[in-house]
Amino acid sequence: MKTTILQKPASFYDEFTQKGGAQLANTHYCPGCGHGILHKLIAEAVSDFGIQDKTVLISPVGCSVFAYYYFDVGNIQAAHGRAPAVATGYKRSNPESIVISYQGDGDLAAIGANEILQAANRGEQMTVFFVNNAIYGMTGGQMAPTTLIGQKSTTTPRGRTMQNEGYPLRMAEIIATLEAPVYVERVMMTDPKNIARTRKAVRKALKIQMEKKGFSFVEVLSGCPTGLKMTPVNTKNWITDVLSKYFEPGVKKDESEDREPIITLHPDPHFEEYHELLDIRSLSDKVKGVKLSAVKEMVDEIKIAGFGGQGVLSLGYALANIAMGHNYKVSWLPSYGPEMRGGTANCSVKISDKRISSPMIDNPTVLVAMNKPSLQKFVDDVQPGGVILYDSGLIDEAPKRNDVTVIGIPATAEADKLGSTKAANMVMLGAYAKIRGYLSNDYVKQALPLIIKNKSFHKLNEDAFKRGMELVKNS
């Protein structure tokens, strides 16, 4: 007889170093927790099918939030209930990947009930493992949508009643009524026979995705000895004797034999067409006959702040677009209150020759402050050696920093003279362009009307931009 070894599947890490602490070989789960059993079955299948390098596991909120400690595959941790939405995005942009949404009953059947229904109804090509233990385990045993009638929990101390909390949701049956899903089964992790069935269901659900047939859903009745306040063995018996009477195991839907593989074309062949339709072609396609200088090595982090209505966001947006037209990598991140005018607004613009990893700016290299509160808010954040541009017409007190270049531009007053205070932002844009010197004036002249399309502003913005450049020269 051949020697065979059943051991920790290769799709688990050798040591769970992300978990930390002294015990790096075992999980953070309680003794007898069902998650561990299901993790092992999934890891084994991923290894056996040779899909470890293209599998992405989306972990939920709940005890299995830390699934990424254990699985040596791609991992994403999603917000509560949103794993199917994240899985949708990942799978659509990476159609060759194998995407697993791993969710508990609080996550999938309560806060994420809509996400799962919509994803299932769209027939997203993903595999969902739904761990149903009839309770909110992580938070200490509150009632879940799957808690049985009469079952006591910390939030139903006299037992769940139909009048108060309604009936437990049978998610597998609900999903099975939809047209799109290919395979829906409920299994339970109790005795060896049923664990073997669970193993088979896990493998089948993954196979369906590997064959590109569509959405598969496996509900797993699982024990939470801590939340249910029973020993692990009693929990297992309770699942068999009580839980599985309401949540009956079995295949709820299986069309895996009849379905043809769905081939997703990626990228979408109509991609260019959408750009036309939405008029989101880049400026470079529209601005003609401007010779641009070579991209230089730099990272400029610009914080533009003022009150709503001053054109703070438009200024950032225009700057980011113009810099992008000059072949720089850019990001633009607005931040504003719910009101359209008044209130405070700011935006962060990053401009770099290299790819930008985060649009956030903590310490700007350039601060454009359009009013006093904005200057006070950000003045201390500017990097030493940076630049502060402030509206010296509106702000009576110059910023007190010796380690930065401080330039006062009476932007609002100058814009007023040109015809409208609304062009104050373009005066600031001109000042910025003059200080940094890498933007082509001809390019800006052509680009501004394409960015700010309102015709009545075309001439004004051009003049304001020029004025801003002159003001720096004079100051």
Binding site: T4, I5, L6, P9, F12, T27, G32, Y70
Partner: protein
Amino acid sequence: MAIINRVLIHVDDCKGCGLCIDACPVNVLDFSDGLNSMGYRPAHYIGEGCTGCGTCFYTCPEPRAITVVRNVEGLAKDHCPHCNATVKVFPGNRDESKTFCVECLKPVNK
């Protein structure tokens, strides 16, 4: 010759939930007398009678607590520095050049 199978229990990974003991169809697993380093009472193999069915492996929620070897005779031998003896060793499945002692489960490679 009878086939010898072995359940290997990583004592410090076991949380003493007892699911393997309950599931074993031939009742060759039991709780230990002592406690492990975490303070749990781990499962242990009584020493004979394992059929190598793997039931305990699949009921165990811990990734590494249980390893089942079917036909121990087929394993290679090596010197285990921890046991200071020549023992049977089994290869890991992430890196087959790494082998582990059947007696103490620790890696035997230098």
